[in-house]
Amino acid sequence: MKQQIIMKLLTGMAGLGIALGAATAHASPESDRQEFIKYYTSKYPNVKVEDYVYGALAFDADSKAQYDAIMEFPPFEGDIEKGRKMWETPFKNGKTYADCLPNGGKQIAGNYPMFDEAKGKVVTLQDAINDCRTANGEEAYKVNDMKTMGTLTAYMRTLSDGMLMNVKVESPKAMAAYEDGKKTFFSRKGQLNFACASCHVQNAGTRLRSEIISPAVGHAVHWPVFRGGDTLVTLQQRYDGCFKQVRAVPPAQGGAIMNNLEYFHSSLSNGMPMKASVFRK
């Protein structure tokens, strides 16, 4: 039944050749990503795909100019500094995050989320940070706590600036998690009965009240954001907000639904450069 509803939604997006379910022969994350890009570029041939990383700003020069002005010397540099201090402060046992994360934590964010075969589930960068904490005798951070995990990643993710998103979906189990995330993305939810796709595919580039809706390609590379220049929001915190905005009960941040969604959603931005801690309205 859910499959039918999703298919109805998909056929409503003329030209989006996305298949659901790993059974289909040509379905692959890369072909999905290409289909999304084909859909957006046929609707908006004058917007460069590389500008999708700016989201709604790619569709409005006046907004983009404000982003550029603010990003020249962001008002939230102090908050990023707080994150740097958190990152560089050793654990009680003397070890640091750089000791347990690959490559000392530099240029790795684009590899996440990744499918951890041993654990049999998707692991986000935040999960990897928490694994590092608990392995060194510290308590895990709550992933939805902007003062701890949010602030730490506001700095830590900048160590991966410029890295191209590189989410891999290789094993059948990984594919199943990817497909689960895709299903969440395309499923209608909440009192308003919208899917992520209702806005970010069908209505990308159009206005929802006064706001231009951003395309899903280019989304996942630019987190966390500082709304209004001072309110820190992580990607899953934004998912939480989206669920609430369609009046659905949000799944737990850091749980399987959100992590699988982030897995699918991030792979849509494969090949695009990461840039953490940016301004949004």
Binding site: F73, E77, G229, D230
Partner: protein, 104 residues
């Protein structure tokens, strides 16, 4: 004021381009604290001065209408690379802050 002021000063041709990011909540006194429902008292930078090699180049009065973590950009003709830029501010509670940099 946990974070210090940041100053970037570079020569652009024969003009020193100075950019300052101050750290201050710039409370208007109109905002209600989300938890207590009480008005957060006005608390903002009121005076800013900038000197280059000891000579005042800019002096400003700010109101609470300047954005949180105030940004200020100005340009000065005459200074050279290596000259010292000093920026000072004072807020309505009497707190002060100062930072300096050399023009790069």
């Amino acid at each position: 004021m946990a974070e210090p002021m940041r100053i970037r000063a570079t020569m652009a041709g024969d003009v020193a381009d100075v950019k300052v990011l101050m750290n201050h909540p710039m409370e208007t006194g109109l905002r209600k604290d989300a938890k207590t429902g009480q008005l957060v008292p006005a608390y903002f930078i009121q005076e800013v001065t900038a000197t280059i090699n000891g000579a005042t180049v800019l002096s400003a009065d700010f109101g609470s209408g300047v954005s949180k973590n105030p940004y200020l950009g100005f340009k000065v003709k005459g200074p050279k690379k290596g000259d010292k830029v000093v920026v000072n501010w004072a807020d309505n509670k009497g707190d002060k802050n100062s930072a300096e940099t050399l023009i790069g």
